[in-house]
């Protein structure tokens, strides 16, 4: 509890642009503004064919609403600052990196190779050092999943090194 209070005070002493509430609100507003600008590029239905409201009207209203509510959230946060979040640990960034590895491997090599790579990477960095368990999560389990989806449910997976061998 003492630590939390110390963190809260530290947050108040921070310049506003370093505070979470400012940065989060700013990101939401900037994205909403970008999307709002995008809505002006939507095609317009000619008046003779238009029935009811234009296709851009509903998303526009929603985005304006989001911006107003975000400003309100920020205003309320200036009265009652948000709790300061702990710094994210290395394991989080490594898991995020594993997502990236999965995307790259499955795009360039093979979908199941991507799953295997992520499974082994995550399991290892989360503390599993035993080879037998790494093989279980990285190879045996993905094979079971593949067989289930491919043979029982008749699913066709995207082409890749391993799937091409299997399908040929």
């Amino acid at each position: 509890m003492k630590n939390v209070q110390k963190q809260k005070r530290a947050n108040k002493s921070l310049p506003f642009f370093f505070r979470d509430e400012f940065r989060v609100s700013l990101i939401i507003i900037l994205i909403s503004l970008a999307l709002l600008i995008t809505t002006f590029t939507f095609d317009i239905v000619p008046p003779i064919l238009n029935r009811g409201i234009q296709p851009a009207a509903f998303p526009k209203a929603l985005l304006v609403l989001i911006i107003i509510m975000t400003l309100l959230v920020y205003y309320l946060a200036t009265k009652k600052p948000w709790k300061v979040q702990k710094k994210l640990p290395k394991s989080f960034f490594l898991t995020l990196l594993s997502f990236l590895i999965f995307v790259v491997v499955s795009k360039t090599l093979d979908f199941f190779l991507g799953i295997s790579a992520l499974s082994i990477f995550v399991s290892y960095y989360w503390g599993e050092k035993r080879i037998i368990y790494l093989l279980l999560v990285g190879i045996i389990f993905p094979i079971i999943v593949f067989i289930f989806f491919e043979t029982i449910l008749g699913l066709r997976f995207p082409p890749g090194i391993l799937t091409n061998i299997y399908y040929s």
Partner: protein, 490 residues
């Protein structure tokens, strides 16, 4: 009495019992797998049903429907990943309870309330099908719009975040539902030149991303923490006290689910969200919702399974599917030469009551599988995270891909996983996003169609009695938490 005997017919046919057993088991497996579900399962099995007689075929499809709807709760409780969209609300309290080491209690409650909800709706189906079908017929676009608004009133009170943050998340969910071709004019919205986005963003990639992938990222921040989980508690089932506490919620949600299910194109997902929201509204301890409330699980699960029977009403009585899965069942009926409609009740009562009986038995069967399997399923929570989460990732990715066999769905799932993690980190609940996404299409679609009908006159909404009733209910629903909060303060 004759109808009751007709309903019991499947019990005396070994072939139908075998079909029911297989359908229930298959439905459970499909329900457990994220991305798959009774709709996909029904569609997959549809060609196979051609080898069966019409009653066996429809019994197979309905048993998959009942068991698949329940099966979604198992993964929702154990790994925070709803196996079916209808189980999204079950995550809210099921997973926190499992995290406390009480997975067996959560699963047991989900099983019992699903069974009661399912059986309740079949009883409703038997006695009130023709009458309810007529009521559903009264629902036009303005009434659906009012119903969707009623559904949106839960946004402010659902989840743990502040009401304004919930509303922002809900508006974002509705915004996601606008991605793709506009249904009225076919104009592209937020597609950014990506062809795959013209169909819109699917529900499954968003749900699996926001719940499962974001949870995986959350777990990655906790790997150095030591949890003192009491292993034995994980396999403990609900107590008598739990049932005493929840029977009213189960009955209320069963009624809500049956009614929502009757409305064409609604179904279990909307029913479970409204069932959950109403359970919270009526609860003596609403502050416990989202933190492992047994009432929350009961409210959501009874409603989504009650919607199965409800959804069969317009399907059988009017030939209008009450949900995505009943659309598959309707296809099954048509390809087997059965013409759904009011005449079906008069001309083929044996066939019709055979289906009702099969649904009843399917509910009992999944109760047996679920209740006695709960102790086994609950042990999943005891598997170390370093083994469990890579496996969940593999199943989630394949399940999401399987929906449209589209790799972009997998990327969308990962994107929402990262987004969900940061949303939760900064106090934005992910649940309103799901609600917004579910109701978004309904809100915009019915609003625009109503305005066309009313020639742009917004006031016309208040001239329709059913719509007006829902608007009044929405106001009451919004005011109720405020009034109660004031009472508690006093």
């Amino acid at each position: 009495m004759d109808n009751l005997l007709l309903m019991m017919a499947p019990l005396f046919s070994s072939k139908l019992l075998l079909v029911l057993f297989f359908g229930t088991l298959f439905g459970l497996i499909l329900g457990v797998l994220p991305g798959l579900g009774p709709t996909t399962g029904g569609a997959l099995i549809l060609p196979f049903t051609m080898t069966l007689d019409p009653l066996s075929a429809i019994v197979l499809l309905t048993s998959i429907y009942c068991a698949g709807t329940y099966g979604g709760a198992i993964t929702a409780v154990l790994i925070n990943t709803p196996g079916t969209p209808a189980a999204a609300a079950t995550c809210l309290d099921g997973y926190p309870l499992a995290q406390k080491g009480e997975a067996g209690r959560a699963l047991g409650m989900a099983t019992v309330s699903s069974t009661v909800g399912g059986i309740f709706s079949v009883i409703i189906l038997v006695f009130f099908a023709p009458m309810l079908a007529k009521l559903a017929y009264e629902f036009g676009q303005p009434e659906y719009f009012a119903l969707a608004i009623f559904g949106l009133t839960m946004l402010a009170s659902i989840g743990e975040g502040s009401p304004i943050k919930n509303l922002i998340a809900g508006a974002f969910g509705i915004l996601i539902s606008t991605v793709g071709k506009d249904f009225m004019t076919s104009i592209d919205r937020f597609t950014f030149g990506i062809n795959e986005l013209t169909e819109g963003i699917g529900f499954i990639p968003v749900v699996v991303g926001l719940f499962a992938m974001s949870e995986m990222l959350t777990q990655s921040t906790l790997i150095n923490q030591v949890f003192n989980r009491i292993a034995l508690k994980a396999i403990k089932l609900p107590s008598k006290e739990d049932y005493k506490k929840t029977w009213k919620t189960i009955l209320r949600s069963s009624g809500i689910g049956s009614f929502i299910g009757v409305l064409p194109a609604e179904g279990g997902t909307v029913a479970s969200l409204i069932g959950y929201s109403e359970a919270k509204r009526f609860s003596k301890k609403p502050e416990k919702f989202g933190k492992g409330s047994i009432e929350g699980i009961a409210g959501a699960e009874a409603a989504n399974n009650a919607a199965t029977g409800g959804a069969m009403v317009p399907t059988l009585a009017l030939g209008i599917p009450g949900s995505a899965t009943t659309a598959v069942i309707l296809t099954g009926l048509i390809i087997h030469g059965v013409r759904p409609g009011p005449d079906l009740f008069r001309e083929q009562p044996d066939f019709l009551y055979g289906i009702f009986g099969a649904m009843l038995i399917a509910n009992v069967l999944f109760f047996i599988f679920g209740f006695f399997g709960a102790k086994i399923f609950a042990r999943i929570t005891l598997v170390p995270n370093k083994i469990l989460w890579p496996m969940i990732f593999a199943v989630s990715v394949c399940g999401t891909y399987s929906l449209n066999q589209s790799i972009i769905d997998v990327w969308i799932m990962l994107f929402f996983g990262v987004l969900g993690f940061f949303m939760r980190r900064y106090g934005f609940s992910v649940v309103p996003v799901i609600i917004g996404l579910i109701l978004g299409e309904l809100v915009e679609g019915t609003l625009r169609q109503s305005l066309v009908i009313f020639d742009g006159n917004w006031l016309m909404f208040f001239t329709r009695p059913i719509a007006l009733t829902f608007f009044i209910l929405s106001l009451i629903a919004l005011a109720f938490p405020l009034i109660r909060a004031k009472k508690i303060k006093k």
